[in-house]
Amino acid sequence: MSAQARTARRRSLPLTAGCVLVGLVVAVAVVSLFWVPFTPDDTSGDRLMPPGLPHLLGTDKLGRDLLTQLMIGARIALAAGAGSVVLGGVIGLAAGLAAGFATRWLDDVVSALLDILIAFPTLLLAMLVAATQTASLTSAIVAIGLAMSAIVARLTRVLVKRVLAQDYITASRTSGTSWPRVIAEHVLPNIWPTLTVNLALQFGLAVLAEASLSYLGLGAPPPNASWGRMLAEAQASVFIAPVGVIAPGVLIVLLVVGVNLVADGLRDVADPTRRRRRR
């Protein structure tokens, strides 16, 4: 194998490994839409059973099937990640574009507001939003998405400013291209790679934030099994039923590691200079 091919393979390793991990969780979530071993609110099993038959991974303190809950939890974790990224991405992109194009004083005001929002960490903002409504998956997604939008907006603003300072923008404007076309043809394609990598990282953070929120009781209510709430409920019976404390945590870690690996892989693809430096 040539040295070049070897580097190419090493480079794609994080991307491949990440896709496999995320793919596994997605597959579980998709299967759970059509089939789960038991219904999530079926409490007919004996309580805190060890793994065996018919409950492959055992049961929780109410006699619910753990495997079923874990599968549904995959759905909730992915929904939380995807929902927050879409919400935070759209709001953040719009606000960041506006700030990037704004006149100096408006830009100052927006940047100051963003700095304050970012000073307020996701979790605290999420607790506030979750408290303004009854806690649910939606309230968690709204909260995490809003907090994320500030981070995305700040990044977008910097990226837009950098692109707008380039000579090809001036050239394009001079030859009569309208601003909307400049955005579509020059600005967005240029900021997209960096933004995608950041959104992938934010996806992982959103999964962690949702787990924390539901651990505190501010996420999806029962019988929707969120991994965070499963952990909170299993905490007291760690010696009788260790699977309940281990399995949801391991799944959270696998999903977030997977997403982060995808982000790393994408970054190496998007930014050749970084690739060279890293090696």
Binding site: D115, F120, L231
Partner: protein
């Protein structure tokens, strides 16, 4: 520098006022009437009106806001709707748990992350360099409350060497006992925080290691240690300081979850309870104090960066922010 200091202080004050206004409005959007927390079920409309009058929520929003800001300016955080005790002293006593928890975790995380991050970059080609990066990669993917749960299982429930949670009734009267109950929470936060810090330290170090000035210095005959000390560290530390500021702020507020895992009577527990009871003065007070702490940390981190890096001092303040 003076001009910058003035600008930055003005920014701090304006931010705080803005944050206060946002907090105030956001809380008023909370559904549910705080008057209800004072009364039993089945209170008459008259009683509800009287309760509202007593806590002042029947006044116009603007009037409530002005009197609240006025109170803040004199460090009076108001009295709780529910317990009718002053909020300020309670926050202060809760801070006696949250502040040591935050600072100890932060210190431990920095002590671990700086050398580990440096080695992970310097020895990136060796197996242990890769291993260190891998472990930190894993660390940023772990939910902090899960780490706490696992540590409790091992050290409190199995080995029985450390308490699983709680804090001495008389706070710091017996420092040894208080510290013992902080060991596991501190380790929990520090582990997760160190994992993310290691990544920043590693990437800052990689930047320096690949830099032309370091190579030049080595070519001119400096030893690696000397080149690193004279040129490398100063350059690497600048981005790390701004990250440290953010991490410290995040830890302070993220302590909410860990305090809940270990049943510590910190600011987090007070906030969760205040939210459940719609106790506006409590929530406002905590969030106001937290915001103040977070903004001051950012202020100090910015100043520290400028003191270390003369390039930032001479460039426009605007670009540096």
């Amino acid at each position: 520098m003076t001009a910058y200091l003035l600008r930055r202080t003005a920014f701090l004050v304006v931010s705080l006022l803005l944050a206060a206004a946002v907090l105030f409005l956001l809380l008023r959007l909370l559904p549910g009437d705080p008057a209800n927390s004072l009364l039993s079920v089945g209170a008459t409309p008259d009683q509800i009106a009287a309760a509202r009058h007593q806590i002042g929520t029947d006044r116009p929003l603007a009037a409530q806001f002005v009197s609240w800001i006025g109170q803040m300016a004199t460090f009076d955080l108001g009295t709780s709707f529910v317990s009718t005790l002053p909020v300020g002293p309670e926050i202060a006593s809760r801070l006696a748990v949250t502040v040591p928890l935050t600072l100890l975790s932060f210190a431990l995380a920095v002590v671990v992350a700086l050398p580990v991050g440096f080695v992970a970059a310097h020895k990136a080609d060796t197996w242990y360099g890769t291993l260190l990066s891998g472990v930190s990669q894993l660390g940023i993917a772990v939910p902090v409350f899960w780490v706490g749960m696992l540590l409790i299982t091992v050290f409190s429930l199995s080995l029985r060497v450390l308490p699983a949670g709680g804090f001495p009734q008389d706070d710091w009267a017996d420092p040894a006992q208080a510290l013992t109950s902080l060991v596991l929470p501190v380790v929990t936060i520090a582990l997760v925080m160190a994992a993310s810090l290691i990544r920043y330290v590693r990437s800052a170090t990689l930047d320096v290691l690949g830099s032309d000035y370091l190579r030049t210095s080595r070519a001119l005959g400096s030893s690696f240690a000397r080149a690193m000390w004279r040129h490398g560290l100063r350059n690497a530390i600048v981005p790390v300081i701004s990250i440290l500021g953010i991490e410290l702020a995040t830890t302070f507020l993220g302590a909410v979850v860990v305090e809940s895992v270990f049943a510590l009577p910190g600011l987090g527990g007070m906030l969760v309870k205040g939210l459940a009871q719609h106790d506006y003065p409590v929530i406002q007070g905590i969030l106001f104090v937290s915001t103040l702490v977070v903004l001051v940390i950012g202020f100090v981190a910015d100043l520290a960066q400028r003191l270390i890096d003369p390039r930032l001092r001479h460039s426009l303040a605007r670009d540096a922010r």
